[in-house]
Symmetry: C2
Subunit: 250 residues, 2 copies
């Protein structure tokens, strides 16, 4: 008989919670969340990822966890572990098919995120990364109101159109009193394979400008790298070797 | 004295409503919505765009309408007209600054979209294009439940990661009995400026595969074109000259 009716939340011991947000979709939030967690795991830290993108989750696929299932115990749900031992919880780990649609309105989305925080046995972690969906609606609101977030990392791409929407997310973090820990520019340039010349496909870098607006440092600039897209599609993001994120995991 | 207390909805005469969706952010929904409306306008059709992305609107900026304001009459709100006469309604046209955050939960998002449909004097249009945000939550649900959508155009990029999330949107359309009119692949390849060689930065095309899953035709494949990003950032999308969309406007 288990006399201790502890809830997972009472058992979990999580050092920091870092949310990765952008407001704008497709800029590389999930990628940055994955690379950040890998860099921390390589330093021997205990890391988990809470995939708060309920209608468009990418984390399980990036880590090759398609088809894996979380296991349950009396106390709570155990996250699925990646090859490097990163704990992952995502709606895609409980759907029958990874491309099944989750057609929910805001309240259910908020509830699912709260369950990922309260009912999952994350155990002892140095850092839990929360991968946020695009927008400034239910998901980021629930995360910032219900989870003790230490800070956010803001991801953007060089287009002014994207930067404008990302500034909305920065304003949201400020209004919710959540510190911006740093900014990351993704798809900053593409290096031509033959000549080594750099092309700025999406315009000039906005790294310094966005860091200034955020009042935080530019943690990394990631080039467009076909190898990255390939590793994500094959579920092998843990094999990406680059020093891009060592500075991020400071 | 105006004896006719007509609501805009009773006055409007809209031929087709076409929603542009993807489920995944950053694949080019707003771009395709803009190019589709421009191609139709060039054929002399009456066209409008309802920007249903309440927390991440891009349409006003693409058309250079930053700072423009919709005007109101007794009967309803008049959309802002682009240079080519395309009527646009977006939350960014009523915010004080384009990068102000709209921090709303689902119910308010749904309500705003309904107001864009019911309270705006669209007038006589051959086609109203609805630009949907990422996800399968409140915004697409409200659009598919409250607006007589003739069909959806699905936008995707070649990455398997993106395609998996886009298939969720296709499943949503099918479950909601909204026909898929066609699919558009964006960022299919990049043409090297010097050699004219094509590079598939995000992997091999999934055009045929996605068209087959959708049960619809592949309407267009758009290359990564720095000129496109530049025109969007400068608010000059109406100057993009390409035959990409003539087939789309069929
Ligand atoms: N720097 C990059 N180089 C190549 N592909 C990238 C890069 N950043 C992101 N991608 C790819 O683009 C897609 C979108 O990235 P993702 O992290 O899912 O964005 P978000 O979470 O912001 O929607 C993914 O398929 C990913 O593999
Ligand atoms: N084929 C393309 N070539 C160059 N830039 C593109 C292309 N498609 C989209 N973009 C740019 O990428 C960004 C994302 O496009 P957008 O239409 O806003 O995507 P979504 O509406 O799916 O989030 C915009 O800044 C846009 O200008």
């Amino acid at each position: 008989v288990n006399f201790i009716e502890a809830k997972p939340n009472e058992v979990n011991d999580i050092g920091y919670v870092v949310a990765v947000m952008s407001g704008k979709g497709g800029v590389g939030k999930s990628l940055v969340a994955a690379l950040l967690s890998i860099a921390l795991a390589r330093q021997g830290k205990g890391v988990g990822i809470l995939d708060a993108d309920i209608t468009g989750p990418s984390i399980p696929k990036m880590f090759g966890l398609t088809g894996a299932r979380p296991s349950g115990s009396d106390t709570g749900i155990l996250p699925v572990l990646s090859r490097m031992g990163i704990g992952v919880m995502s709606i895609n780990l409980v759907l029958e098919h990874e491309d099944d649609a989750v057609i929910w309105r805001g309240p259910l989305i908020g509830k699912a995120i709260q369950q990922f925080w309260e009912d999952v046995l994350w155990g002892q972690l140095d850092c839990l990364i929360v991968d946020l969906p695009p927008g400034t609606a239910d998901a980021p609101l629930t995360v910032m109101q219900s989870i003790p977030v230490s800070g956010v990392v803001i991801v953007f791409t060089p287009q002014e159109l994207a930067a404008m929407v990302v500034r909305k997310a920065m304003k949201m973090a400020k209004q919710m009193n959540v510190p911006i820990l740093g900014v990351v520019e993704n798809m900053s340039y593409f290096t031509l394979p033959d000549t080594g010349k750099r092309l700025e496909l999406f315009g000039e870098s906005k790294g310094d400008e966005m860091a200034k607006i955020a009042g935080a440092s530019l943690l990394a600039q990631i080039p467009i790298d076909p190898e990255l897209a390939r590793l994500c599609d094959r579920g092998e993001i843990e094999r990406y070797s680059s020093d891009v994120f060592d500075s991020l995991a400071q």
